[in-house]
Each structure stands twice: as structure tokens, then as C-alpha cells.
Symmetry: C2
Subunit: 415 residues, 2 copies
Amino acid sequence: MSIIVEQAEKARLAARRLRSVDHGSKDSTLRLIATRLREEAARIAEHNRRDLEAGQAAGLSSAMLDRLRMDPKTTQATARGVEQIAELPDPVGSIANMHQLQGGPLAGRQRIPLGVIAMIYESRPNVTVDAAALCLKSGNAVLLRGGKEAQHTNLVLGEIIRRALLDGGLPEDAVGIVPAGDRDGIRELVGLTGLVDLVIPRGGEGLIRFVAEHARVPVIQHYKGVCHLFLDAGCDVDQALRLAVNGKVQRPGVCNALECLLVHAADAARVLPKVARALLSEGVEIRGCPRTRELVPEAVAAADDDFGREYLDKIIAVRVVSDIDDALDHVARYGSNHSEAICTESQRNAQRWLREVDASCVLVNASTRFNDGGQLGLGAEIGISTSKLHAYGPMGLESLTTEKWVVIGEGHVRA
Amino acid sequence: MSIIVEQAEKARLAARRLRSVDHGSKDSTLRLIATRLREEAARIAEHNRRDLEAGQAAGLSSAMLDRLRMDPKTTQATARGVEQIAELPDPVGSIANMHQLQGGPLAGRQRIPLGVIAMIYESRPNVTVDAAALCLKSGNAVLLRGGKEAQHTNLVLGEIIRRALLDGGLPEDAVGIVPAGDRDGIRELVGLTGLVDLVIPRGGEGLIRFVAEHARVPVIQHYKGVCHLFLDAGCDVDQALRLAVNGKVQRPGVCNALECLLVHAADAARVLPKVARALLSEGVEIRGCPRTRELVPEAVAAADDDFGREYLDKIIAVRVVSDIDDALDHVARYGSNHSEAICTESQRNAQRWLREVDASCVLVNASTRFNDGGQLGLGAEIGISTSKLHAYGPMGLESLTTEKWVVIGEGHVRA
């Protein structure tokens, strides 16, 4: 039996034990994890240094090294995050809509953990802690398979968490650190039907495609965000400008950042120059269609592949569209089902946008940056799903659970 | 472009159009489908005869031929089913929990169709109509890939439905009949990421395994039902007897029928002989463990593979277990996450069963036969999911939808 199968079997047993653990034990163990992280901050930084040195030697970019860093300040913030998860309401156990069936027995739907979740991710080692805390709070066992670049940090974090589980009276195998290695290990992990209930890949496009390609167990993808903002004819220009700048500039490297602006042709001459000026003054590069370049001389020519592209940088594609139908077509073709916004004063067009756009978050006169678990009130998120099954959009604790039917009778049989 | 890709592209466009269709148009079109089915009952039976003749020539069993039959009486019942679906509440469009975010805008979760659903099934041609009606009602386009044995019937049903869609003002490509053929066609269909949102396979174990193996799009499995009933120490023997007989005998060929009885050792001498007698008198064959055979001389010896087996027949496996933990272990090892029942007078053991058994329906003192969309009040079901993601248990209309976030602001940006 391979080490990964062995870890999965142990996680499966731990998941069974977690079904009988009460809310209080989970929360006190989460707080213990936070305390231990703080106590061990120096040791974590020490192991992290080995990853950083190896990363430097391997020529990782400074942005990559930044994501890899787990200094005492990051550890503090991560520990605080775990405490916040402990304070959230427990999603497990409640029975919804208990009612009497025609045949006589009572029936309802009880919220339960999924079982064993495999998390596959890259670089940021704080994901190791965040994911472990969210899975534990929702009663799931988790197999954490981080990247090779963070392996020393992930191993020490795993050791600290597992020790805290044991000391808290919970099964230590509720959190397993799967050895980082080549993609054969990932292939094995995502093929474990009957042992793993869900795989969540988070990382670059290549990783997610690889998982989707090889998975035999269900996958929830956290795929790229190619987010659009459509500026309708007659829109408020100041509002348009605020939404465009906030969407593109506030944090260009995240998945709910704006990547493409669509502008209604009938009003482009009024709207586009002002919005473009504001973006340019923030240092944004504009890649425009021919009509955009007539109105905004600073714009460079957009290539075909500039539409549908996730820049994650201070670059934006701009296209003048003939009407809202053209905008809807563009979004259907180039969008990634992530976050799609309209800026409009037309009630009819707002309704059409809400109804006709297929995305995890559809926004009217609000920034795409609102598509975030924290902003939407979920308390914490394990990612933003662009899959439609099970969860669509930010995934909080409830998304890590499912519902089973419970039926309670007094010897009732079916007529 | 292959014919299947072409059909999927058309379904995708139809799914977009369905997003703007109101409740009334969907319901009146469903009623039109029912009317046309009744009008065309004779022609359907005529095409069905070709399938039946081919089936006879190919040596299909009489049970198989029975499932294949679509005579005017079956068509009547199927048409009535479509009308009942028209009368159910529309699951699409409602927005749950609209509330103001800290940042200012309103946010809520709107129920939306999944998009394009591929249904892969065998024999029963009435599934063609049922699945089309459920998908249409929930705003989805559907690709129906029935078995070769029912191809003539499925084609004429598809023709009738598509004509009714057109006459009802809806896109005819909302329902596509994928040509039956070899499994290469299935492989192609379940690989259409970006075109197909969900695959639902219904049929034998081989078909479901094939789909799970080759799918690149999400799959909800409707897998076998290896359902257990545990007779606890101190249980009411009359109740035990009723639950066992109802579970096993009422309809042995369905997935929520009982396949295995577990009996607490401390009370087996009191409980088991009476229950066994009742089953035997109904013509049920008992395959028992050694202790069972001591108490029930008529029982034959169970082989190892009698546990975990779905007989779909008047046969039951019986095992005496040492206690509830042993019963829980047995269910965790041999169950199929379908329907698992306990017969007990102990409140503590009832609670343990409800909490610790992982199945789509967990029952206390009630027959496994209650795990059914109709019995549980869903109105209609497209199957019983034994997958935990998205839907677990009977899938009604709501399971064919998902939720997206909608955010409505007045120029709100993220701070």
C-alpha cells in the first residue's frame, strides 16, 4: 500500500470518529492550534527559511518568494484566523424542515460533513493552516498536498496541528500532510474513489487542469477570474469610473479583479475617455479595440487573445460593444463564470444582466471585488468556486458539508 | 465537428435562451407535451414494437422487455407525470436571504438552472420524457442518451417533445436526443467540459463505472442500494418483522429494498427466528452467518460476497453482530451510502445511528422504502444520488439547480 493510500485510509477512519465529536471539542482544539502556532512562530520561521533559500536558489520571482514567506507576523495573522473560525457557528448537525410525511414518520435533512477532503495547492503555506481549520470546524478530515517549494514549512505546520489535535482529544489523522513530490502523487490522490470525497485544487491554471483531467473523485474548481464590467448607455460616469478603478487597481493580483471593460457604443464618446483617463492616471495599461483607440489615443491595440485573458496585473482590455446583447455575448464567450458587473441606470438592463449572465456572482452598480467570502458575510472561505455543482462562488463552512435525510418512525412501513 | 458536439453546442445556446423564459411558458409547454404524447400514443407504441421485436430477437429477458415496453397505458401514465411536474412550484429565480452588506450594497443568492445536463440511461423509454420534463421545468437544456435497445421509441418521443417545444415558443434544442451507439459516444459526451454542466448516469453498475471513469464534467452517481436493517437488542419484534418484510418483499427489484439484516447477538434468539419465519413465509431465501443458521435451520450458508451484495430479488443476507459498534462497522464497510435503518427502543442507539451512519437516508424504526422522492415530498425525482456532492439522496427539481450571488449597489466599491 502506498503512503498516500495509507494516509487516506487513516483520514477515512478519523472522519468517522469526527462524526461523534461535539462542537466544544472542535472549537477548543482550534484555539489550542492557534496557541501552539504562536508559541512555535520562531521554529516555523526557521523551517520557512529553508524553503525561502531553496526558492532563491531555484530562481523564484520575488512575488513567489513573498507568497512563500511565513515569518512570525504571518504566523500571528494565521493564528488569529484560526480563532476566528473557532468563533463561527458550527454548520454541522442541524436538521432542517423536520416534518411529518403522509405515511406517518417524521423526516428532515440533517447537515453533515462531507468526509475526507483533499486540498491541492501551491506556494502559500498559510493555506495549510486555514484549510485544516475550516475542514476541522466542519467535521471533515483533510489531506493537505502543498507544493514542493513550501515543503519544510508545511511539514512543521502539520506536525504542530497534529500534536494539538492529539492533545485536544481529537484524531490526529483528521489532518494529514501528503508528501510533496511530482504530479504522480497528485494523480494517485485524486483517483482514490471511496476514500476521498472531494478534491479542491487551488493554484495556477496548469495545476487545476491537471487535477480536472485525472480526477476520479468530485472536484470543485477554483479557476481563473476573467471579470468584466459593462458600462451601459446612460450610466453615471462618476460611478463607472469608481467601479472601474476599484475593480482594476485595488488589488490587481486577485481573481475578482477586473480584467475587461465593455462600453456601450451609443455612449462611448461620453463615458470612455473619462474612465480611461482615471485608469491611466493609476498607471493602468489599456489594450483597446479600434473604436477604443479612436477615443483613447494612449490605448495600445488589443490582440485577439487579450479578450478572455486574466492579467492579474495593472492591464485592462477595453472593447466598445454595440449594445447589451453584444455585451452579454462577449461575457458568455470570454467570461470564466466568476464575477460580472454592469454599471447602468436602466432597471430593465439591470434585470437582464442579473437574469442572463451565468457567473458565480453577478453585480449591478457594485465592484467585482465584492465577490469574496468575507465581504459576502461567510466569515471565512476556502476559495471561490467557478464550478456550478455543489457550490458556486465563495465557499464557506457550509460548502464543506452536505445534507442527508433522516427519517424517524414508530415501525412505519410503506403502503 | 461530431454530431454530439454539435448537439451540445445547440443545447448550450438553448440553455442561454431558457434563462429568460417565464414560469408560465414552461408550464404551458409541459402541458402541450402531455397532450401530444396522448395524441401520439398509437404511433409511439408502433415504434416501440420495433424495439421490442429487436429485443426479443436479441434474447432479452422478459423483465428487460417489460421495462422496454411503452404501450398506450404507459404513455398515459407518463403524460400524467409531465402534467404533475408542470404543477410543481418553479425552483428557479427566487433570491434567498437578500441583505445589506457591511460595505453597503444588497446581496443574496439567486436560484438558477445548472445549464446543460446529460442524462445517460438504459432501457425504460419513459425516462426520456420524465427527464426532459424535469430539466425543462428547472430551466435546463438536456441531452438524452438512452440505450440502443430503446432507440426507436426514444427517437419518436424526442421528435414529439421537440415539436411541442417549438410550438410552445421554446427552443427545440432544449431537448436533444443523442444517438444511441457504442460507448465511444458516451465517452465523448461526458468529456465535453465547457458545454455540459452535469452528467447523470442511471443504469447498471457497469454503465455507472464507465461514466465515472471517463467523465471530465461533474457526475452525480445513482449507484446501487445495499441497504441494511439493524435489529437492536430489546427491539419490538412485531415492528422488526414489519420493517424487514416491507423492506425486502414490497418491491425487491428497486434500490431502496432491503438486502441485509443485522441482528444484535444478545437478543438474536428472541428476535431472529420470528423475523426469519415471516420472511420465509413470503418466499424469501435467507443466506446467513453460522449463528443465523443455528437459529434458523432453513437458512443457507452465506458466502463472503453475500455481504455488500445488491440482490434485487427475494434473497436476504443475515448476520448476527456483537453489538451496535459491530453493526456500524458492517454498514461502513459493506453499505453503499443509500438507505440504512435501525429498529430500536433505545434513544441512545437511535441517536448514535442517526449521527454515525453515512448514507443518503438514515432511518429509525421506519422502512428503507421511504427513501424515495415521492415519499419524502419532493413531488418528482430524477433519481437517488449516492454521491455526497451537490445532492445526496432523492433528487427533485431543486437538485437540478444551483445558486449564484447577486449584488446590487449604487456605485459601491470595496474599501
